[in-house]
């Protein structure tokens, strides 16, 4: 019975790795946060699901969710803690986007965890680069 259940246990144990396979950001990577959008500051969300709702719902929904986000200044450094591949499906984009879990390592929110969109994540290598938005 245990022998038969071993593959199932193995699959469950390896699932987190499986969802991270081929994700754009590897856990442990040092990154800097800044948005390619006109406003370079980055909204960091306390929940992956709120991030998904913010990215895919209307502004009316986004407005209600805003208290659950912090606005990190452009250039805030962070470390990737997890990555979910193809999690966001926006109707006007041809391909889905990844969502990335981060722990901020600089700025006023240093030490806090949160979730950002992969477009706001820029890998800096072993050491995070501290960049400040004017």
């Amino acid at each position: 019975m245990i022998r038969r259940a071993l593959p199932l246990f193995a699959a469950i144990a390896l699932w987190p790795l499986a969802v991270q396979a081929d994700c754009s950001s590897m856990p442990g990577s040092q990154i800097a946060l800044f948005s390619g959008n006109y406003d370079p500051d980055v909204l960091v969300w306390d929940s992956r699901h709120r991030l998904l709702a913010y990215a895919t719902d209307s502004y009316q929904v986004a407005k209600l969710l805003l208290p659950h986000a912090i606005l990190a200044r452009a250039g805030t450094t962070a470390v990737v803690t997890s990555c979910h591949r193809n999690a966001i499906h926006q109707k006007y984009r041809p391909a889905p986007s990844d969502v990335v879990g981060v722990r901020m390592t600089s700025g006023e929110y240093r030490g806090r965890n949160g979730w950002v969109m992969v477009e706001d994540v820029h890998v800096t290598g072993q050491r995070a680069t501290h960049r400040h938005h004017p």
Binding site: N37, Y38, D39, A62, I70
Partner: protein
């Protein structure tokens, strides 16, 4: 193919021309319709591209506004707000242009996205930009910045959605235009092939028709030789003749003359005019010529010859509309006498050597109408006298005003004519051509016989 031949043969070149004209009309109409459709498609494509430009302008203005407010909140210097106010003024016209195109194209989804973009933009102005400009150091600045970020993201998302829909519509328009061009190309090629085939078939039929006409012409020329009016040389006479058909390209018609020697001293002369003209009438003239010659082998009396011919003609020719005027004469060159019978043929003239001119009266009815007796008349001829056997194409020749020459005119012309028999005939023909401007209304046959003095030419 058989049906096509029947169609072409039945209605002739008119049908073929109508088919080609119809085809041409279809081709031109199709081209014009395609041109209009393509032009409309290009116009719509231009509208879509203008909408994309307007959307780009809106985004650019949004950047200017956002950057200006950000600069102001950091520096507190009013100069940073100039782009903000400038962009605010320019936003509405571009928004209106974009809105008009979306409405024209009935892009309801994009219209909804634009409406949300406008709402987000207004909200950003009222709830983010204006409060920050009024109080840059407010304690709510962080909240305003978050809301601003969310609104900018919302505008970007709406703009991205509009852009995607415009791009889709643009692609769709291009595909439609390309399809229209392709369809027109194939259609035009099809028409070209169809018309080419029609032209080839028509050309083939024309070639065949030309060959048939050539064969008919060869046959006609052979028949013409059989039907041709002719004369043999007769002692003590000078003879000239002419034959002109009123039917173009055909040297035969409904008139006929004949002159041949019966014996050393007797010659049979004949002139006849069949009602109608062309090949049908020519067939009757051949019948006349050879029948009269056959009868003349047994009879020397012109009245009897005409009477027998009249009977034969009415039995052989069943068409009640066909009749013949004819003069048959027997010329005795030794006694210089002409014995003739005329079945309604009043175009035979005698010009005396002394210059007097007269026409020889008819002696019986037209042939083919009724069986009545004919009588002979004997005319004593003298050396120098000239007999002119003509058909009504001479007396009935019309000038430009439609006036006929009539008998007095013929007598006048004959009195003025000089030279040998052939010269006189040629002169008369020339005057007829001149009078009618070469547009003869009827066939014309002329046979002139001038009596010589015991074998001595007069001229």
């Amino acid at each position: 193919m058989q049906a096509f031949r029947g169609l072409i043969r039945g209605a002739g070149a008119l049908t073929a021309t109508a088919i080609l004209a119809f085809g041409l009309f279809i081709a031109v109409n199709s081209t014009l319709a395609t041109r209009a459709a393509t032009s409309a498609a290009f116009e719509r494509e231009r509208g879509i591209q203008n909408a994309q430009l307007a959307l780009s302008e809106l985004l650019k203005l949004q950047v200017d506004e956002e950057t200006a407010v950000r600069g102001f909140t950091i520096t507190r210097e009013n100069i940073f707000l100039e782009p903000y106010y400038a962009a605010s003024v320019q936003f509405a016209p571009h928004d209106r242009d974009l809105s008009n195109v979306l409405a024209d194209e009935r892009m309801t989804e994009a219209q909804a996205a634009l409406h949300e973009l406008e709402q987000a933009h207004d909200e950003w102005h009222q709830l983010v930009a204006e409060p920050l400009i009024a109080r840059p150091s407010t304690r709510y600045a962080i909240d305003l910045a978050k809301r601003g970020k969310a609104l900018i993201d919302a505008e970007r998302n709406d703009a991205a959605e509009i852009q995607m829909l415009l791009t889709q519509r643009d692609d769709q328009m291009r595909r439609q235009t390309q399809d229209e061009i392709n369809r027109t190309g194939y259609s035009r090629a099809g028409w070209l092939v169809a018309f080419g085939l029609i032209a080839l078939l028509f050309n083939a039929y024309q070639s065949r028709l030309t060959r048939e006409l050539e064969q008919e012409r060869t046959t006609t020329e052979t028949l013409q030789r059989a039907f041709q009016s002719e004369f043999e040389s007769i002692p003590h006479t000078d003879i000239g003749s002419a034959y002109i058909s009123a039917t173009r390209h055909v040297a035969i018609g409904g008139d006929v003359f004949d002159l041949y020697r019966m014996t050393d001293r007797l010659a049979l002369m004949l002139i006849a005019d069949v009602s109608g003209k062309g090949v049908d009438a020519a067939v009757i003239t051949a019948f006349i010529k050879f029948t009269i010659r056959g009868i003349a082998l047994r009879r020397n009396d012109p009245a009897e010859i005409l009477a027998e011919f009249n009977t034969a003609f009415q039995r052989a020719v069943l068409n009640p509309d066909l009749f013949v005027s004819m003069l048959v004469g027997v010329l005795d060159v030794e006694n210089r006498t002409l014995t003739y019978a005329s079945g309604g043929h009043d175009s035979v003239y005698l010009r005396r050597a002394n210059g007097g001119v007269e026409s020889l009266p008819v002696t019986g009815p037209i042939l083919g109408v009724m069986e009545q007796p004919f009588t002979d008349r004997v005319v004593q001829l003298e050396p120098g006298d000239l007999l002119l056997l003509a058909t009504d194409g001479l007396a009935e020749s019309r000038d430009r005003k439609g006036q006929q020459l009539n008998e007095p005119g013929v007598l006048s012309w004959l009195a003025q004519a000089d030279g040998g028999a052939q010269q006189i005939v040629d002169g008369l023909v020339a005057r007829v051509r001149q009078r009618t401007h070469n547009q003869l209304g009827d066939d014309l046959a002329l046979l002139a016989i001038r009596i010589e003095r015991d074998g001595v030419p007069l001229d």
